[in-house]
């Protein structure tokens, strides 16, 4: 048992830092951070990752992945987060790609994987429906076979960045006769198909990321079906595990906490830095201690995956604890911003309203409320842990 970095690891760390220093520029950070230009910004960042060969580190090498060790993945992620660089938008490279690699046929791999690597397609995820949230298997969007096409009718909801996407991966119902988990099929749908409409959802964070996607007699070639008809639930579940691991965002929370500490240090209340306020110090260190633990819970899960074992029971906690920590940081940052946390920032310069971080704090606080809801609400995660880990 040890966590020492080898000479090779240290050399790799230096390479990552050098790459980030060159590729993650302040101009690019500004482009990604602006609502109007975020799509272009993220695509440009992902092209830089692609050029370096790091767009899809977790893919098999034959499809364009790397053969990083667990330690290298960990180092990359730590360095990326501490530089403030985002992860690649997950819907393509992390989510649908893992299903295509595991269950897609050769034509599908050849068609979609290179385009994902080069960020030529923007994917979104069509899982939730108005009547199927945490109870995902109740989904009702229908796919009726007509010759060599499926005809799709129904609605998806909470679809992140559907307004930018040209492809959507969907769970649809092809059979109603058996258990609700049966009769679900996994389809890839071109968003430009006639009959697809996207409607924005106005959210409390004043940032357009959520949408409804409606399908009205949308025709989808059978060639766009992943694997077998009726087996979509199995494919979707494998993806949910990936999704829950990535939602934890441990490295990003570390950076968020370090930034919060420095913001708090500068806040003076009655002549005393907030950091010297024992109640504040207690809340800050409560989070930090949990995060230090979660960081190693993640490492333990990664180490067991690397040894070819299933991740241990501890990995089921990553989504739950990761999002609780994210929300605790967001909440504390609002408290650091004090009055300015309540000033409506709109398009005004944040500086003009008092604190340069108040606008960001407010947006991430409200946006962050979603993290304990998406990917299976945290209460559902507890049900899953109770059932599959504790055997209750």
């Amino acid at each position: 048992m040890h966590t020492r970095l080898s000479e090779e690891d240290l050399a790799f760390q230096a390479e990552v830092r050098e790459f980030l220093g060159e590729a993650w520029t302040s101009e690019l950070a500004a482009t990604c951070g602006n609502k109007a230009t975020m799509k272009e910004g993220h695509e440009e960042w992902q092209r830089r990752l692609y050029k370096k060969g790091w767009m899809a580190p977790h893919w098999p090498v034959e499809h364009g992945g790397t053969d990083w060790t667990v330690t290298q993945s960990f180092i990359y992620n730590q360095e990326r987060a501490s530089a403030g660089a985002p992860e690649a938008i997950p819907f393509g490279v992390t989510m649908v790609a893992s299903v295509i690699i595991a269950y897609g046929n050769d034509e599908q791999k050849a068609k979609f994987l290179p385009r994902i690597l080069k960020s030529e397609d923007w994917w979104c995820q069509g899982y939730s429906e108005p009547g199927a949230g945490s109870d995902l298997a109740s989904l009702k969007t229908r796919a009726d076979l007509d010759g060599d096409e499926y005809v799709i009718n129904g609605s998806k909801i909470w679809t992140t960045y559907a307004q930018h996407a040209n492809w959507i991966f969907c769970l649809v119902r092809t059979d109603n006769s058996g258990r609700k988990q049966e009769g679900i099929t996994f389809l890839l749908i071109d968003m430009k198909s006639p009959g697809v409409t996207v409607r924005p959802i106005d959210t409390i964070d004043s940032f357009h990321h959520l949408n409804e996607v409606h399908f009205d007699n949308v025709r989808v070639p059978v060639a766009n079906r992943i694997g077998e008809e009726g087996k979509g639930w199995t494919y979707a579940k494998s993806l949910l595990v990936q999704e829950r691991l990535s939602i934890a965002e441990v490295a990003d929370s570390k950076r968020g906490l370090a930034r919060l500490r420095e913001e708090a240090r500068e806040e003076v209340n009655g002549g005393r830095s907030l950091l010297d306020d024992p109640l504040f110090a207690k809340r800050l260190t409560d989070i930090e201690i949990e995060l230090m633990a979660l960081e190693f819970t993640e490492l333990r899960a990664l180490a067991s995956i690397a040894e070819g074992k299933e991740p241990g029971p501890e990995s089921s906690l990553l989504k739950l604890q990761g999002t609780e920590i994210q929300q605790a940081i967001q909440e504390l940052r609002m408290d650091v911003a004090a009055y300015y946390s309540g000033t409506f920032q709109g398009d005004l310069s944040a500086q003009a309203l008092g604190h340069d971080y108040a606008g960001a704090a407010q947006q991430s606080y409200f946006r962050g409320r979603a993290s304990s809801i998406y990917g299976g609400s945290n209460e559902v995660q507890k049900n899953i842990t109770a059932k599959y880990v504790l055997g209750l």
Binding site: M1, H2, L5, E307, T385, A386, L390
Partner: protein
């Protein structure tokens, strides 16, 4: 990076697990704790024969030369079975201080005796006023001719009844809570002027309050006035070890509670089918995994003497204190009325976890140390620098 145990460590773990299985069933443990001093001298001899008493000592003194991972493995298994023998007091504290600070002559004389199971020791540091500040010492030692003579009182000396030798922290210079000016003395427990009042802790182990009335010390351990530098690394290693002990106890307690919820029926179904109870058990499982993650983190950092060592040790001690209370409290609640009885071992585990929380400073105390460390501008700056470098 690797979280697997070595072949040798697996063997240690398995052999302790076997010992626990054969010797530490509920009734057997009660019989052990009922013996004089709260443990079995026969078990202690068995520990010696199996080589467990040699684990943390250097090879030159007949030790096994083990590191923090070896101690963790051993203490975690002891925790699972709630083993009562005074390993922390005699081997980790008394033995650890000798190894860290004693002269070669003293090490050569006493360490092999500890390893052979022939010597019980204890570390007397606490006083009535000290609370969790280990340097708050009023007991004095003064030089009279060639002798050091001690006066004062020490409290809650774990294994203080069975110990034939003590290491006593006394003030030889400075103000009452100063870090410097403390000197460690080896004292024979049968010396003239020593009075011991022994009593049991709630988990069954024996402790003593000891008064020193013009007691002559046998030797100085470490340098005069520099006792803190000997105590700190030994106590830090012992903190890690008791946290491993706590993890073993938590794992066992959670497993007992889970089993009970799967078998106990009310309203015609197993109570574990109720969601309100399921979520509480996920919370205790989660607390236990957090402890395990921080323990691995702190043990790896201690082994490498890394930058993260102190920070993760303090975080661990906080987490162990809080998780221990949560897991203990939930275990009693979920066992219902049975959790209130002494017919099950639940209460004994809960008490051990509560004692570990207070040992060497509780969660709140350690959280204040943690906050001071991580909020210091220098630390924050160096962490930021390390991340940006």
């Amino acid at each position: 990076m690797n979280f697997s145990l070595s072949e040798e460590q697996n063997q240690i773990r398995d052999s302790i697990a076997r010992f626990v299985q054969e010797n530490y069933a509920f009734d057997q443990r009660n019989a052990v704790v009922a013996q004089e001093h709260g443990f079995s001298a026969q078990h202690w001899q068995q520990f010696a024969e199996l080589g467990w008493l040699s684990i943390p000592f250097a090879e030159e003194h007949d030790g096994f030369g083990g590191g923090p991972v070896d101690t963790m493995v051993l203490m975690q298994e002891f925790g699972r079975g709630l083993v009562a023998e005074p390993y922390p007091a005699t081997v980790l504290l008394f033995g650890g201080l000798l190894q860290e600070g004693a002269s070669e002559a003293i090490k050569g004389e006493y360490i092999p005796k500890i390893i052979a199971g022939e010597l019980q020791g204890a570390f007397a540091y606490l006083e009535r006023q000290s609370r969790y500040v280990m340097t708050d010492i009023a007991t004095t030692a003064a030089k009279q001719g060639n002798d050091w003579v001690l006066n004062g009182e020490k409290t809650v000396v774990l294994n203080g009844g069975a110990a034939s030798k003590l290491i006593v922290a006394a003030r030889t210079a400075g103000e009452q809570a100063d870090e410097s000016g403390i000197t460690l003395f080896l004292v024979d427990a049968a010396s003239d002027g020593i009075e011991r009042t022994t009593y049991r802790m709630t988990d069954g182990q024996e402790a003593a309050n000891i008064t020193f009335n013009n007691v002559s010390a046998e030797a100085v351990i470490g340098s005069e006035g520099e006792g803190s530098t000997v105590m700190t690394p030994v106590v830090d290693a012992a903190k890690l070890a008791v946290c491993a002990n706590a993890l073993g106890a938590m794992e066992s307690l959670n497993a007992q509670t889970l089993e009970y919820c799967k078998t106990r029926e009310q309203f015609g179904v197993a109570i574990g089918s109720f969601q309100a109870l399921q979520h509480r058990m996920v919370d205790t499982f989660s607390a236990c995994e957090n402890v395990k993650s921080l323990l691995y983190r702190a043990v790896c950092a201690a082994q490498d003497n890394g930058e993260d060592a102190l920070r993760s040790l303090l975080a661990l001690k906080v987490m162990v204190g809080r998780a221990g209370k949560l897991i203990g409290g939930e275990a009693i609640q979920l066992h219902g009325g049975m959790g209130m009885t002494n017919e099950l071992s639940v209460g004994f585990y809960v008490k051990r976890l509560m004692i570990i929380n207070t040992l060497f400073g509780d969660a709140d105390y350690h959280q204040q140390l943690f906050a001071k460390l991580v909020n210091a501008p220098a630390e924050a700056a160096s962490a930021a620098k390390a991340e940006a470098a």
